[in-house]
Symmetry: D2
C-alpha cells in the first residue's frame, strides 16, 4: 500500500520538503474522539529543530485539520491534517541535482523515479514529512491516553553517551513528554549535546539509539502470522528516516542469553499476570502480554556532512567529490524520538481497532 | 491482513502443529515459473531437525503442490502447498493445557483466543508452520535465482560463538546452501554445536544471530513510505518464531559511528554505481541501491527448557512451577536460517512484482 | 489482493477444475464458532449438479477442514477447507486447448497466462471452484445465523419464467434452504426446468436472475467511501462465474421512478426505525439501515452450447468453427444460488468484524 | 480499506460538504506523467451544477495540487489534490439535524457515527465529495489517453427518456467529452431536461441510467477471483452517490437470452481477436478481452424532494413529517456521468499498474 499504513485505522502520508503542503489522512478513527489542539501543537513543537544542534530551518508547523473533525471531535470520516511549508530556500539545493549524496536516497530515488523526483530538500524522502506523521500520531496518542495507554521515547544513546535506564515508567514517560531533547538524565543529555556540537564543529554528524515504552496495552492484541505486533511496529519504524535497526525487549542481547536467563518468569499481581523481567518487550508470539511494550531503534548519523566525500554524478555516471552546503542537522536522533512515539500510537490504534472494532477508541 | 503477507505476490499461511496439514498459498506468481521439486525438497531438508541438537520429532515434510502448477510450471493461479503432519504425539502436551510456559505464546494465545486455541504442540504458533513458509519461499527463491538474484543466511553467532565474516558473497552463498547447520567456518560451527549440547545437558537452551545476504537485487525497488524494503523485510522476519530484533547493514553499530564513518562512499565499477562500504545494507531511503542487501536478526534461546520455572496456571490464575516435558530443540537458530532465506525470497518477489508487473519473474 | 477477499475476515480461494484439490482459507474468524458439518455438507449438496438439467459430472464434495478448527470449533487461526477433485476426465478437453470457446475465458486466460494456464475443465475459472466458496461461506453463514442474521437466494427468473415475489421473508428463507432448485413457487420451478430441458434438447442453454435477501443485519455497518455494502457485495458477486449485473433494492427500475415514489418512508415499529418500502435494499449511503438487504444478479446462459459457433484458434490466430463436447450444464443459475448466499455470508462477516471487532461473531 | 481504493494505484478520498477542503491522494502513479491543468479543470467543469436543472450552489472547484507533482509532471510520490469549499450556507440545514431525510444516509450515519457525523450538507456523504474523485480521475484518465485508452459516459436514460445507442465509439466519446449534459442525441437531451424541470415544478426528482464505454483496453487485465474487472469497477461505482445497480455488456437482458444468442462470436480483424457482438462488455472470466468495456449504472432519483414525507426524528425515535428546504438537484444523473468516467479511469490505472508494473503509465 506504499504511502498508506494500516487496515482498520490507516494513515496516508503525502508531501515534499519544498512543496506547498505536507500532510496526512487518518482513516478509521472512531467518531467522537476529542481533538486537543494544544496537545498536537506540543507534539509538533517537540519535533521542531531547536538551538545550535539542529538545522537553522525553522517552520512554525501551523497545521490545520481540514476534514474529519467537527466541533473539536472526530466525525469518523477521514481526518486530514495539512502543514504548510513556509521556510523554503530551494536555491541551496541546486548543486545536488544529479550528484548523489552518499547514504542519502538521491541515487535510489533516481533509479525509481527516473529524474522526475522532486529532489529539493530531499523531496518526499525528507525528514520534514515526519511532521505530518507526528500530527497524525498526536491524535491517535491522545485517544490512547484516554484509554489508559501511555507511551514515550527517550534518547537511549547519542554520540556514544548513554541515558540512564527507564525506572518508574509512568513518571519517566511523563517527564519525557515535556522535553524536546528527551533524556531521563539531564547530565547525560548535556554530554550528548556536547558530542553533537563537537561533531558539528568538524563538519561531521552523530547517530544514536531511541527507546520507546508503552504502558497499559491490553493483552491479546496482535497476530502470530504475519501481523505480529513486532512486525507491524517495525514495518512502521523503518519509515522514520535513518532508522537501520529495531529490537524488542532484550533485543540483540537476548541472542547471547541462555533460555533460563531469557525467559520471563510469570507471577500474579492484583489478579493479573505479570513477568519479573521483560526480555520479550511485552510481546509473546506476536501478541501483547499486558507488560510494557519496549523497543529500541538504531538511528544512523545524519548522512549530510560538511566534509568532502567520494560519490557519483548520476547524470553521466562519473565519479565526483561532494562537499554539501545548506541547512542540515548534525544529529536527528533527538528529533526522531517524538516521531517514533507518534508512529507507535498509529500502529497501536490500528491493532486495537482490528481487535475490538472501530468504536473502541471512542 | 493477518495470515496473508504481500500485495502483488501474497502468501497465506495456515496450519497447526498437530493438525492434519500445514500449508501455504502463494498468489500472484507469474505464469510459467519452473517448479523444481528437488530444490524445494532440499530447502525443506535444510530446515528439518537433525542429530542430537534438535528435537527428536522427525517429519518427512512430504509436501504436495495441489493447485497453481501444471506440468511443473506455475499457471499464474494461486499455488497451494500442503505438508502433512505425521509424527504427532499429542499426549505429551496434555499437562500444559492451562499452564503458561514462560516466554511462550500460551498466555497471549489464551488472551486472544479465549481457550479455543489448538494448544497442542504450540498450534498455529509452532515453529513447525515455518516449513510451509520454507516451501513457499523455495518456489520464490528458485524463480529469483533464474533472474540472477541469489541469497543465503548463515548462523552469525550461536551460544556466544561467532562465525567468520562473509567474504566472497557468491561463493559463501553457494556453500551455505548445502549446509543444514549453515556456518561459513566449520570450526566455529563445531563450537556452536558444542555450546548447544552443553546447554542441553543442563536442560537449558541457547539463541543466536542470523545474517542474510542478497546479491543481484535491482536498484530502485522499495518505497520511501511505508513500504520501505527494510519495513517489509522486518515485518515478515518477526513472524519467524523467536526473532526479537533486526538490523540492516551496520545496524545498531551505526548508531555509534560518525557520519564520516557511516556514509558509504560511491564509485563507478563497470558503469554501475557501487559503494566502498555497505553500512546501509543495500538500501537507502527504503529503496534498493544495487548493493547486496544485508541484515541480521536476533533469535532468542528456545523458551522451552527442562528446568523448573515460576509461572501461572491461567485456568484459575494461580502461581505454579513448571518443568516441561516433550520434544524440543535446545536451539532453533540454525534451523531458522533457511526460514529466513525463504521469507526473504517471498518479500522480494512481492516488491519486484509491484515494481515491474506480474510477469516479471517469468 | 486477487484471490483473497476481505480485510478483517478474509477468504483466499485456490484450485483448478482438474487439480488435486480446490479449497479456501478463511482468516480472521472469531475463535469458538461451532463447526456444523451437517450444515456445511447440506450447503455443498445444494450446489451439486442434480438430475437431467445439470452436468453429469458428479463429485461427492467430501470436504475436509485441515486447519483452524479443533473439537468442532474455530480456533481463531486460518481455517482451511480442502475438497478433492475426484471425477476428472481430462481427455474430454483436449480439443479445446487453443480453440477459444466464445464468451468463455479461454482467450483472456491465454492473454494473461501466456499458455501456462491449466485449461482442463476451465482450470481456475471453473464453476467447480465455487464449491470452496460455498464451504467457506457455510461456516460464515452458520455463525451469522446464531447472531440472528438469516439469508437465502431464490431463482427469481430462469429461461424467461419468473418465480413469485418474496413475501414472508423468514418463512421464504427457511423454505429456500431446503431446495436444490431454489424457487418459492414450485409451479414456476417446474416451468423453469422445462425451459432448461427445452434449451438442452436443441443444444442450447438459458440464463436467469438470482435474488438474495438478508434478514437481521444490524444498522450502521458499511462505509460511505469506498467500502459501501453495495460495493463490497458486488465486488464479491462478480466472482461467481456468469454474473454480469447486480442491483440493490428496486435496482434498475428505480431509475424510472420519481423521488416521491422511490424514497422509502420511515416509521417506528417496536421502537425501531423501519421503512414502508425497501427500494434501497436495506442500504443508504453504503451503510445498512436495519431493513432486509436485497439484491439481484443477472446470470448469463452457460456459454458452452452444443451448436456450431464461429471462433478462433489462438495458436495461430485463425478463424475456426467450434462444436464443443464434454460435460456441461444447460443452465447454472439454479446452482449459483447457494454460491451467492455463501458469498454474501463471507462479505457480511468481514464487514461486521471490521465494525465490531474480531470477537463479535463468537 | 474504507476511504482508500486500489493497491498498485490507490486513491484516498477525504472531506465534507461544509468542511474547509475536500480532496484526494493518488498514490502509485508512475513518475513523469504530464499534469494537464486545462484537462482537469474541464472535467471539473463538466461535473459542476449548471442552469435551472441543478442546485443553485455554485463552487468554482479551484483545485490545487499540493504534492506529488513538480514542473507539471508527477514525481511518483503521492499526488494530493485539494478543492476548497467556498459556497457554504450551513444555516439551511439546521432543521435536519436529527430528522432523517428518507432514503438519505442521515439515519445510517447516526447508527454508525453516533451523532458525531458532520451532517451539514450531507457531510462526508455529500455528492460534493465526487469533485475530488473527478480531479483524481482526470489525472488518471489523461495518462490513459496517452496510452490510447479512451473513455466516456452518456446519460443513457433520464426521466424515462432514452438517448440513442452508442455507434461510432471514438466519435461518440469525443462528442460526450464536450458536454455538461452528456447525451449523444441532443433532441433526447432536450426532452430529458424537460422531464427534470417537470419533476422540479412539482417538488419532485428523477433518476436515470449512465452508460460508460472504454476503448483500447489491453486484453489480459483483471483476475478470475476476486479482482475481476467487473468486481473492481462495481466496487468503485457504488461509491457514486445514488448508484443502485450496475450491469456489464448486455447486463440483465442477457439473463433472458439463450446461449446461442448471448455468446459473442469471435473472428480475426487485422490479426486481432474481435467479437461480432459485445454482450460480455469486453470482459470474460473477469479479464479484459480487448473489446470495448461497457457498463451501465442505475442512478436513483435525488432523494431530497420538496414534498411532505413520513419519516422519523432519531433524537427521540418519533415519527415526523418532513418537507426539506435548501439547495438541491432535481436530478443528478447528468452530473454523475463525469464522475463515473473519472472513477473508471482510477480503477483501470490500478489494474494496469498491477499487471504491467508501476512505470507502465509513464
Amino acid at each position: 500500500m506504499k504511502n498508506t499504513f494500516g487496515s482498520s485505522v490507516a494513515v496516508t502520508i503525502f508531501g515534499e520538503s519544498h512543496g506547498e503542503y505536507i500532510g496526512a489522512v487518518i482513516d478509521g478513527l472512531a467518531p467522537g474522539i476529542e481533538i486537543d489542539h494544544e496537545y498536537i501543537a506540543h507534539m509538533l513543537n517537540l519535533r521542531r529543530p531547536a538551538g545550535r544542534i539542529s538545522t537553522p530551518r525553522q517552520e512554525k508547523d501551523e497545521y490545520r485539520i481540514v476534514s474529519g473533525a467537527w466541533e473539536n471531535r472526530t466525525t469518523g470520516s477521514p481526518l486530514t491534517i495539512l502543514i504548510p511549508n513556509e521556510s523554503v530556500k530551494s536555491g541551496d539545493y541546486s548543486q545536488m541535482k544529479t550528484v548523489a549524496r552518499p547514504s542519502h536516497a538521491d541515487y535510489t530515488a533516481q533509479c525509481k523515479y527516473h529524474g522526475y523526483q522532486d529532489f529539493r530538500g530531499g523531496g518526499h524522502f525528507s525528514g520534514r514529512i515526519t511532521a505530518a506523521l507526528v500530527a497524525a500520531g498526536a491524535v491517535c496518542r491522545n485517544a490512547l491516553e484516554k484509554k489508559g495507554i501511555l507511551m514515550g521515547t527517550h534518547v537511549k544513546k547519542c554520540g556514544g553517551i548513554s541515558d540512564r535506564e527507564l525506572m518508574d515508567l509512568q513518571d519517566d514517560i511523563k517527564a519525557l513528554n515535556e522535553k524536546s531533547f528527551a533524556v531521563l538524565c539531564e547530565e547525560a543529555g548535556e554530554k550528548m549535546r556536547g558530542a553533537i556540537l563537537a561533531a558539528q564543529e568538524t563538519g561531521d554528524s552523530v547517530g544514536g539509539v531511541l527507546e520507546t515504552v508503552v504502558l497499559g496495552m491490553p493483552a491479546g492484541v496482535g497476530e502470530p502470522w504475519f501481523d505480529t505486533l513486532e512486525g507491524m511496529l517495525s514495518h512502521m519504524m523503518f519509515s522514520i528516516p535513518a532508522v537501520k535497526g529495531i529490537e524488542f525487549g532484550a533485543g540483540f542481547a537476548i541472542s547471547d542469553m541462555r533460555g533460563s536467563e531469557a525467559n520471563d518468569p510469570v507471577y500474579i499481581e492484583n489478579g493479573k499476570a505479570v513477568t519479573k523481567t521483560n526480555n520479550n518487550g511485552g510481546i509473546n508470539g506476536g501478541i501483547s502480554n499486558g507488560m510494557p511494550i519496549m523497543f529500541r531503534t538504531a538511528v544512523k548519523p545524519t548522512p549530510t556532512i560538511f566534509k568532502p566525500q567520494n560519490t557519483i554524478d548520476f547524470k553521466d555516471m562519473t565519479e565526483v567529490t561532494l562537499e554539501p552546503k545548506g541547512r542540515h542537522d548534525p544529529a536527528i536522533v533527538h528529533r526522531a524520538g517524538i516521531v517514533q512515539t507518534a508512529a507507535t500510537a498509529i500502529v497501536l490504534c490500528d491493532a486495537l481497532a482490528m481487535r475490538f472494532g472501530t468504536d473502541w477508541l471512542k
